[in-house]
């Protein structure tokens, strides 16, 4: 599984960071998403799915 982030769509709500700060951070400059680990394993897989579901601008997706 791979996390794909579209920073063009990202609106910097930070919901992904709240979901799992091991996977996601935000740019200090403009608040958009930074993926810290794009190939989550184990428990982090479910966190990644949750982040994708909650993201308000659907900027995150998963490639299985």
């Amino acid at each position: 599984m791979k996390i794909i982030a579209d920073t063009g769509k990202c609106v910097g709500a930070g919901q992904c960071v709240l979901t799992e700060s091991e996977l996601f951070d935000q740019s200090e400059e403009d608040g958009t998403v930074i993926v810290l680990n794009d190939t989550p394993e184990g428990e982090l897989v479910e966190k990644a799915r949750q982040a994708v579901h909650i993201c308000p601008s659907q900027a995150l997706s998963l490639a299985e």
């Binding site: 709500a13 930070g14 709240l18």
Partner: protein, 404 residues
């Protein structure tokens, strides 16, 4: 819907009881989840009530957020204060793509999860001092006056660089602005007065930029060559209003929810790791900004099997979505364990609340501190005597008399 009949139902509707949405929401959601209603101006507007449909409306470019447009649906008589204002005053809340993204990004760095975390010690200090004062004062006390309003007001003033000494002035005008019973003239007057105040404040910061959000924006936008005072007045106004009324009402209602659900309050007290879950559930359960997520359709769209035409107004009803059993089993139960972070209390899509992580931080600190320092907090009057804001566009409590 092809009928040309006048819709029977007029929005906004009043909540059935302090803890329940208007009874009509359930009926609309079950029978005709996308339906036409009347607005106080006598116009027609679609309401969208299912969680899935609300998310779709709020994240679809074919629905515009341009509140300056004369056809933008509003829920007060005489139109909102933004209608027909000059283009130069447009801030991000009224922008669409591709203009909206860059405007939001210009200020987004000020509201990241990390930046909000840096504010934690100062917010804790503010909350502690206010609770010191509350405990030293007479009982019963009004929690709205003692805690709910001053916490977010102090925090947003410091963040923006607005003198807290002026808080009574802008709180008074804000409450006039959000009260549905205020006349159109009264709303315009309050709007102009706060704009003038913010304009004077920015003029001072232009001469001597301060190290706060508004001061930093002036410096940054000037460097980019895009600084317009009119637009920053709008942004400052928006952040000031959005930054205190909303969180203040959530502090009051959230405290009430904890008092009314002592077992869940005990669970939060025993494990502060649960406080954020409790906060998310309070946000979902009360959805205090239920009527701000209106849009103007600019290109025909099918939502929930209904075609909405360009030029028609739409309201994505957040409280109806947040009580949709398809998205939240047993939606009318207050349950901090439910894991309902997919609620739309902060909206959805590109306009989802910019200050949401500031709000979460303030609420988390307030409830953790209240439960620890005043564990026997209780109501000083029965629930049914509490003055709820049924007449305001942001739901909440005018007063919350408490004792301990």
């Amino acid at each position: 819907m092809t009928t040309t009949e006048e819709p029977a139902l007029q929005f906004p509707l009043v909540r059935e009881c302090p803890f329940s949405p208007p009874a009509e929401y359930r009926q609309i959601r079950e029978e005709a989840p996308v339906t036409k209603v009347r607005t106080p101006e006598g116009k027609q507007m679609w309401v969208v009530t299912r969680h899935e449909d609300v998310r779709q409306v709020l994240n679809d470019r074919r629905f515009s957020a341009n509140r300056f447009h004369p056809d933008f649906p509003v829920l007060v008589e005489g139109g909102n204060a933004l209608r027909n204002r000059p283009e130069s005053e447009r801030s991000m809340i009224a922008m669409d793509a591709p203009e909206h993204g860059p405007a939001r990004r210009a200020v987004l760095g000020e509201f990241t999860v990390r930046r909000m975390e840096q504010l934690r010690p100062r917010i804790q200090q503010i909350v502690d001092e206010l609770i010191d004062n509350l405990l030293a004062g007479p009982r019963p006390a009004d929690l709205v006056e003692a805690l709910s309003l001053p916490v977010p007001s102090l925090v947003i003033c410091e963040l923006l660089g607005v003198p807290y000494a002026d808080h009574e002035f802008f709180q008074e005008h804000t409450s006039r602005l959000i009260k549905r019973t205020t006349s159109a003239e009264g709303r315009r007057e309050a709007f102009e007065t706060v704009r003038a105040y913010m304009g004077d404040l920015l003029a001072k910061k232009e001469a001597e930029p301060t190290d706060d959000l508004l001061g930093r924006q002036i410096v940054k936008l000037r460097e980019e060559g895009t600084y317009r005072r009119d637009a920053l007045v709008s942004l400052g106004f928006l952040l000031l209003v959005a930054g205190h009324e909303t969180t203040a009402n959530m502090i009051s209602l959230g405290t009430l929810a904890l008092i009314e659900n002592p077992e869940q309050a005990a669970a939060v007290k025993a494990d502060p790791g649960r406080t954020l879950d409790a906060v998310e559930e309070m946000l979902r359960y009360f959805t205090i900004v239920d009527a701000a997520t209106a849009r103007l359709c600019v290109e025909d769209v099918e939502i929930g099997g209904v075609t909405i035409r360009a030029g028609e107004g739409v309201l994505a009803v957040g409280l109806a979505a947040n009580r949709d059993p398809e998205a939240f089993p047993d939606p009318d139960e207050f349950d901090i364990e439910r894991g309902g972070r997919h609620h739309v209390a902060f909206g959805f899509g590109p306009h989802q609340c910019l200050g949401q992580n500031l709000a979460r931080m303030e609420l988390q600190i307030v409830f953790d501190t209240l439960l620890r320092r005043i564990p026997d907090l209780k109501l000083a009057v029965p629930v049914d005597e509490l003055p709820f804001k049924d007449d305001a566009s942001i739901y909440g409590l005018y007063r919350l008399p408490v004792t301990w």
